[in-house]
């Protein structure tokens, strides 16, 4: 009788141990995949920031309404009215030739082709004036605009949840020089 009890006890311990190992393996796999998805999302975010970086600081610059002095501040766009744009550089129809044209751009679904696989990301944009030390968003015109790109992985056509518990967020401040 005692032999049987000991045997059952041993099997229960092994089952528990086995379950723990399986959990560890799943956690390890999720950690590895998440790290790769993070890397890809950061790549997507950086690429978008670089695309926006090449635009004019403001429509006033594109339109030639600036003189290259401090008085240019009054010419800058505020509040930003270009929300909902679908910018041409991301496949849409709007020109978006200055930084704040990207503010609240339509959510972009970005395929990231990697070999035989494709990972999709949702990309959102936010542009705000920033001021102070440290720089913080403000509700008036300044010579600094902060662009924030938020990237989240999605898996269209599946029930797979996002690997990124929080979206990757990349911010850059672009300054007007005169």
């Amino acid at each position: 009788m005692s032999q049987t009890l000991y045997a059952i006890l041993a099997l229960m311990m092994m089952a528990t141990y086995s379950f723990n190992i399986a959990q560890k393996q799943i956690a390890s796999q999720q950690r590895i995949i998440t790290r790769e998805v993070e890397e890809m999302a950061a790549t997507v975010a950086l690429e978008k920031i670089e695309a926006i970086r090449s635009r004019d600081f403001d429509a006033a610059v594109s339109d030639g309404r600036v003189d290259g002095d401090a008085g240019d501040l009054d010419e800058f766009s505020y509040p930003f009215t270009a929300s909902g744009n679908n910018c041409r550089i991301f496949g849409g129809g709007n020109v978006c030739d200055d930084i704040d044209d990207f503010h609240a751009q339509q959510t972009l679904t970005e395929p990231f082709v990697f070999g035989a696989d494709t990972v999709y990301f949702e990309v959102n944009f936010d542009v705000q004036y920033v001021d102070g030390n440290p720089l913080a968003p403000v509700s008036y015109r300044t010579f600094n605009k902060q662009v924030t790109v938020t990237v989240q992985d999605i898996w269209p056509g599946t029930t797979i949840p996002s690997y990124l518990h929080q979206p990757i967020t990349l911010s850059r401040v672009f300054s007007y020089t005169f």
Binding site: I21, E36, M40, E47
Partner: protein, 210 residues
């Protein structure tokens, strides 16, 4: 002998437990091997990316916009993908005696053959050579020999690939804005449980502007 038969029940279950234990230990070892191999390759990839970024950010340094900053990247098929096999760029390095023209060349060289996810894959080494003052190229570093994919593109301000970028840049220097680099490294060995067969790195770097 009767001791054996008296404890037959314990013997059978004990053997099963020991076999399960060995199996689980093997699984644990595989998980640890995968994590370690993955981490090491990721670490090496990050180091490679860091020096490559430092290098590429000097493209055209101290050169005029009308000078040649780079030659067209050379592409070829490797492991089923179009990869960059060679890229050369120029800069002028400041020295106490004045500036010295320096040419840097990246070349992708086959180094090994590995089986990755059941597929025979050529592993490459990215070799960096430099030439100062028009002299012979000398080796200036290399990546590990685990690169399965390397792509370096010159792109415009919309991050779109520019064909024949050196000719385009000669006609209009502002037509090339960024260098886009993407590469993948394979792990040197795999287990049956391996989840991820390649680690990835990518960046988009702005060319220095006046």
């Amino acid at each position: 002998m009767y001791i054996f038969f008296d404890n037959l029940n314990a013997m059978i279950i004990g053997s099963a437990v020991i076999l399960m234990l060995l199996s689980l230990q093997l699984r644990m070892t595989e998980i640890n091997i995968e994590e370690t191999a993955n981490y090491m390759v990721k670490r090496q990839g990050a180091d490679l990316a860091t020096w490559m970024e430092d290098d590429l950010l000097t493209i055209g340094e101290n050169l005029d916009a009308t000078d040649t900053w780079f030659n067209d990247p050379v592409y070829a098929l490797a492991n089923g993908d179009s990869v960059t096999t060679s890229f050369t760029f120029m800069r002028e390095q400041e020295t106490p005696g004045g500036t010295v023209p320096v040419t840097t060349r990246y070349s992708l060289q086959p180094a090994d053959t590995l089986v990755v996810d059941g597929v025979v894959t050529t592993a490459y080494r990215l070799v960096r050579d430099t030439s100062a003052n028009g002299g012979a190229f000398v080796n200036g570093g290399a990546s590990n020999a685990l690169m399965s994919y390397f792509r370096l593109d010159l792109v415009n301000s919309d991050i779109k690939l520019v064909q024949n970028p050196s000719a385009v840049a000669a006609a209009d220097p502002d037509s090339i804005w960024n260098v886009r680099v993407r590469f993948a490294l394979v792990t040197p060995f795999e287990t049956d449980q391996t989840t991820l067969h390649r680690v990835y790195y990518g960046s988009t770097l702005m060319l220095p502007m006046d």
